[in-house]
């Protein structure tokens, strides 16, 4: 320290005592530096079966019927189990609370047989009555559950949730006995089983909820450590806000013998740079993200920890088709055809995402979107001239709206330049804080806007049903009667997967021909994963089935 040299002229005793004081202060701040075994937290964890998991943001809650986010899902899926679970790699449905089920020939009547050895963490048996009551809770209008629509395929569920009927016995779910649950659907919804692995359809423990509040009480503290009763492979042990959530292996879980982790430590890691440092310092087994600029470094130095995989999500811009200049489909198409997606994904996005020319990501459980257009600046210029703006002359200008974020800005700048260069049109960039951006989208107070969509379940429907006429997530003004007919009537009633996918292709073709959205790329998930982590195969949902995860300290 150069302070010492500065002090030479000072009386020796003063100097010593002041330095001593500083030392005492610093020591008071937390004692000596790392001591003990000399192992990092990750090495220690691998030996003890404790995974240290970067979970993005602080969970807002752990009530399966109320939470909505990805971070919450990662915890709730360790604490609870639905009627079914998903295979960690193929995402095909596996038995969960239900050990078997039958589907009627017309595909609308499901009979679930619950396993008799399933227990809540307090020792109560998990029964069909629990699911019946839990689904009633999810659909109770006053609860205001954002994901209640996941049960809308069930007969009368939507009417009950919207307060049109008060009698829950009219809803198509029935507990025949303690271990048999019968569900009547409106249409043979082929992805219905997938929905039963979504946390909104999980069962919750009725006595616990009623001990701390009513069926419709969002604000009750039932889902807190010490109160919460769960039925999954892990139990909630600690939850210190903005610090960590700790879950420990449950002994009462029916398949506890298969569970190989002893505990999961979740950390809120909203600051990507901090998360990166934690990984490098051996504090995390798994990061929620990778800082884009560091990807080349990791690829060069530690390629074995980099996990970049396709994700069931689309990144696109949408047009406000209700006002000029984007009420003209030729303008929208011209814009879409001059975006060099290859260049964007390779340079701006470091080659980690795939260019996209449609809405649904490719290979969504065997579905591939139709290809209808390509990068073609020549044709684009012709279209724009046809629309009355030859070489961009007379183009009124437009704002490109995005929520404040460095990666959105970079992409927007690249696209702004491509439009300028190829079409001679100038658009201005407009970044807004998240909630402001959302409100302006909702009010059609935008020209062009960034949008992203992550699928809720593995089926093209989770993307395509956004664009039905006046759909809540449409936000573009797009409306097409044939499209509505396919999405709302024909596809839900088509049992055969190939025929249904052909219908979805037809719908997607209609959508892309009208171009209310400008597809850009298909998302990827980006994680740094310590080599000791096993049983975490990549899948398109970025879904983790915690039962299968384990740690190999020797890897």
């Amino acid at each position: 320290m150069n302070l010492t040299t500065l002090c030479t002229k000072l009386n020796h005793r003063i100097r010593t005592s002041l330095l001593l004081l500083t030392a005492v202060i610093l020591a008071g701040c937390g004692g000596e530096q790392q001591s003990g075994s000399g192992l990092t937290r990750v090495e220690q964890g691998s030996l003890n079966g404790v995974i240290h998991f970067g979970n993005g943001v602080e969970p807002e809650g752990l009530d399966p019927h109320i939470v909505t986010g990805v971070a919450e899902n990662k915890i709730v899926s360790a604490l609870f189990e639905g009627l079914v679970t998903k295979h960690p790699e193929t995402l095909e449905v596996e038995p969960g609370m239900a050990e078997s089920w039958e589907i009627s020939d017309d595909g609308t009547l499901y009979t679930f047989h619950l396993r008799e050895d399933a227990l809540w963490s307090n020792g109560d048996p998990v029964t069909a009555v629990d699911f019946h009551w839990s689904w009633r809770r999810l659909l109770t209008p006053a609860l205001g559950a954002q994901y209640n629509y996941n049960l809308f395929p069930v007969v009368n569920a939507e009417a009950y949730a919207n307060g049109e009927i008060d009698d829950f016995s009219q809803v198509g779910v029935e507990a025949i006995d303690d271990y048999t649950l019968r569900v009547q659907l409106n249409n043979p919804t082929p992805y219905f089983l997938q929905l039963l692995d979504h946390y909104s359809t999980f069962a919750v423990h009725r006595p616990t909820i009623e001990q701390f509040g009513t069926i419709s009480d969002r604000l009750s503290p039932w889902a807190r450590p010490g109160n919460i009763v769960t039925n999954g492979p892990f139990e909630l042990a600690e939850w210190q806000i903005n610090s960590h959530v700790l879950v420990e292996k449950s002994d009462s879980y029916w398949d506890a013998d298969s569970v190989r982790l002893n505990a999961i430590m979740y950390y809120p890691t909203e600051n990507l740079v901090t998360e990166d440092r934690m990984f490098r310092d051996g504090q995390l087994h798994y990061t929620n993200e990778i800082v884009l600029d560091r990807i080349p470094v990791y690829r060069a130095e530690r390629p074995e920890v980099v996990r970049i995989e396709p994700w069931l999500g689309s990144y696109f811009y949408m047009f406000n088709t209700t006002k000029p200049p984007f009420d003209d489909v030729r303008v929208r198409k011209a814009f879409a055809m001059v975006i060099d997606r290859q260049l964007i994904t390779e340079s701006v996005m470091q080659g980690i995402v795939q260019p996209s020319y449609a809405l649904v990501p490719p290979d969504t459980l065997g579905y591939y979107p139709p290809s209808t257009f390509d990068y073609d600046p020549e044709a684009a210029r012709a279209l724009l001239a046809e629309a009355g703006y030859p070489n961009g002359e007379g183009f009124p200008g437009a704002d490109l709206l995005y929520n404040t974020h460095e990666s959105h800005r970079r992409l927007a700048v690249a696209i702004q330049q491509m439009l300028q260069r190829e079409l001679g049109v100038s658009i201005s960039l407009l970044n807004q804080e998240w909630k402001v951006y959302l409100e302006n989208q909702d009010n059609f107070n935008y020209d062009m806007s960034r949008r992203g969509w992550i699928g809720d379940y593995v089926d093209p429907n989770t993307f395509l049903d956004m664009y039905v006429t006046d759909g809540g997530n449409n936000k573009t003004g797009f409306s097409d009667p044939r499209y509505d007919e396919i999405i709302l009537q024909e596809a839900p009633n088509t049992l055969d997967r190939d025929k249904r996918y052909a219908l979805y292709q037809e719908a997607e073709r209609i959508l892309i021909d009208a171009m209310p959205i400008l597809p850009i790329y298909t998302y990827s998930t980006k994680h740094l994963v310590d080599p000791s982590v096993q049983g975490l195969p990549p899948n398109i949902m970025d879904h983790i089935n915690w039962k299968y995860v384990w740690l190999d300290p020797n890897a």
Binding site: L6, N162, R277, V436
Partner: protein, 311 residues
């Protein structure tokens, strides 16, 4: 004196009330609401959510109910963390932020006074320029730069200290305390330098030296006491500033303190949480300022006299 204290305290009440009122209506005026999300919420669900948080009542009723609850010490439920109250969240974060602030203040005073005194002993020499130059750098360097730099050096290259956390691994409190304290240390260094310079030229110190006291006694026993008065009166506001300004450091080091709630609440439009944290911090700042007024008045009778005469 008691009259002075009583009146100043009464004056603080309208200040706090104004803060509450302005905040209440400002957050409601901000675009977007607590339930807006990427996925649209159906009108029925939106209505149910608003009813759960009493947002369906007329605005003036909401305001009066909020004030009534606040008067009973209840800051309401958090919008963003269903099942948790604002009181609970604030009192969970406060001890951590206070601890961080306290250590940062120790760093600030320790380093700042040391540097200031060293500089003042030999004004306009290298011994003055170097610490004061460093202090200037300290004032100018934002914590979002200093923090990651310290982490890179001491956490990753040298591997001496943990890169993040609070109270999990030994030593993880050192870097955040230094990062947060640095700016205040720099300011205190300048304050103590000028304070000391003024005092060192006083006649009574010349007398002290003349009667043969060693320089060490002169500096420590006589000069420091008077020279550090400006630093002492700065401590109250500094501590309030440390409590309310620790957001950046809390984010860099993953510290579960109050500052993160404060900023997250604004992004989430968590109305009750914004109001709660703002009211709480405003009250804290008012109280610290009152206290330093009282101390100043107690130390300096002229202030009291002016106050009594002026009313």
């Amino acid at each position: 004196m008691w009259r002075f204290i009583g009146l100043r305290t009464l004056q603080a009440i309208p200040v706090i009330l104004t803060v509450i009122t302005v905040t209440f209506f400002l957050v409601r005026a901000a675009p977007g609401g607590p339930f807006d999300d990427e996925k649209a919420v159906s009108p029925q669900v939106q209505a149910a959510l608003e009813a759960q948080y009493r947002l369906d009542l007329p605005m003036h009723e909401q305001y009066l109910t909020y004030l009534a609850d606040l008067f009973r010490g209840d800051m309401g439920p958090s919008f963003n963390y269903p099942g948790r109250s604002v009181n609970e969240l604030i009192f969970q974060g406060l001890p951590i932020t206070a601890e961080l602030g306290f250590y940062a203040l120790l760093v600030a005073v320790g380093v700042g006074v040391l540097a200031g005194v060293i500089a003042a002993l030999k004004p306009n020499t290298v011994q003055d320029y170097v610490p004061m130059g460093l202090a200037m750098v300290g004032i100018c360097m934002p914590s979002f730069l200093l923090g990651p730099m310290l982490v890179l050096i001491f956490g990753i290259w040298l591997d001496w200290l943990p890169v993040s956390g609070w109270g999990n691994t030994p030593g993880d409190k050192i870097l955040p305390s230094i990062t947060l304290g640095a700016m205040y240390a720099a300011y205190i260094a300048r304050l103590s330098r000028s304070g000391m310079l003024e005092v060192l030229s006083q006649d009574y110190l010349r007398t002290a030296r003349a009667k043969g006291l060693p320089e060490r006694v002169v500096v420590i026993k006589h000069a420091l006491r008077a020279g550090l008065l400006p630093v002492v009166s700065y401590l109250g506001p500094a501590f309030a500033g440390l409590l309310s300004g620790s957001f950046v450091v809390e984010t860099i080091f993953q510290i579960p303190g109050l500052g993160r709630f404060y900023v997250q609440a604004a992004f989430n439009r968590d109305y009750t949480m914004i109001l709660g944290t703002t009211t709480f911090l405003a009250t804290l700042i008012v109280v610290f300022n009152l206290l330093s007024d009282f101390v100043a008045a107690w130390l300096n009778p002229r202030l009291r006299y002016q106050f009594n005469k002026g009313k």
